[in-house]
Amino acid sequence: MSVAKKRNSKRSAALGALPLTSMIDVVFLLLIFFLVTANFSKEEHELPAALQTDGGGVRSSDLQPQVIHIKHQNGKPLFTMGEVALSDGKSLQEFLVSLPKEPGVAIKSDPDVSISAVATALQAARNAGFQRRSYVPTDGD
């Protein structure tokens, strides 16, 4: 036996033999553990809002909130506030920035509008700095 081989066998004897089968067992177990517990879905966010009914379900305030009415026009949502009509969230947000924030903002929607339009209006109000945002559900029945 050569000198180098003798040295190697001495070193492995000192460290102890590595049990490969058990090691692979643990590694696969870890792999399964992380695969099962990992969350591959997209991270979700939230848009909080108060709930207000036409009958006045929420405590009334001294100031009347400004109302965004979402309508459906040519297959797209149209955001109206009084005389002003806006076609997208960005222009709605720019308009809302110029309004006073204390009265808050209420959102109403026509029944043929999709929920994404409500989310757009809530997001625009939030981005414009409105702390008090409420949604007014309408009885479609």
Partner: protein, 131 residues
């Protein structure tokens, strides 16, 4: 002197961890897959788990814990939640709607919730192109 086989010990410990994780928190692992409205939402420093989560599908079905329920069941659950709420733990509802669902279904749900005394709700969104 008795020697303990560490590799086998770790193997058993991990088996136990996986077992207890599955049996205790299985319901929280997954939420129903829904095409949520694409908005950045609000930055919340401390995210609290909502008291109740209602999924709203494209065709107007309501799901609570992945089970199809009608508005009467949701009303019962909400009433129970509202009656047990306090100042430190107010009852709130997270609605996870399909972004293309009609607002009629959202309105029906919110009207029922308002009848039970729910005052605050949250709309779940995901980041992405504005929809």
């Amino acid at each position: 002197m008795i020697s303990v086989d560490l590799t086998s010990m770790i193997d058993v410990v991990f088996q136990l961890i996986i077992f207890f994780m599955f049996t205790s928190q299985f319901s929280e692992l997954r939420r129903t897959e829904i095409d949520l409205p694409r908005q950045p939402g609000e930055e919340i420093s401390v995210r609290l788990e909502p008291s109740m989560i209602v999924d709203l599908t494209h065709d107007g079905q309501y799901l609570v814990e992945s089970k199809n329920v009608d508005l009467n069941v949701i009303e019962q659950l909400a009433r129970a939640g509202v009656s047990s709420q306090n100042d430190t733990d107010p009852f709130d509802v997270l609605i996870r709607p399909d972004r293309n669902a009609s607002v009629i279904y959202l309105d029906r749900l919110l009207l029922r919730l308002s009848e039970t005394g729910v005052q605050r709700w949250k709309l779940a969104t995901v980041e992405g192109g504005e929809s």
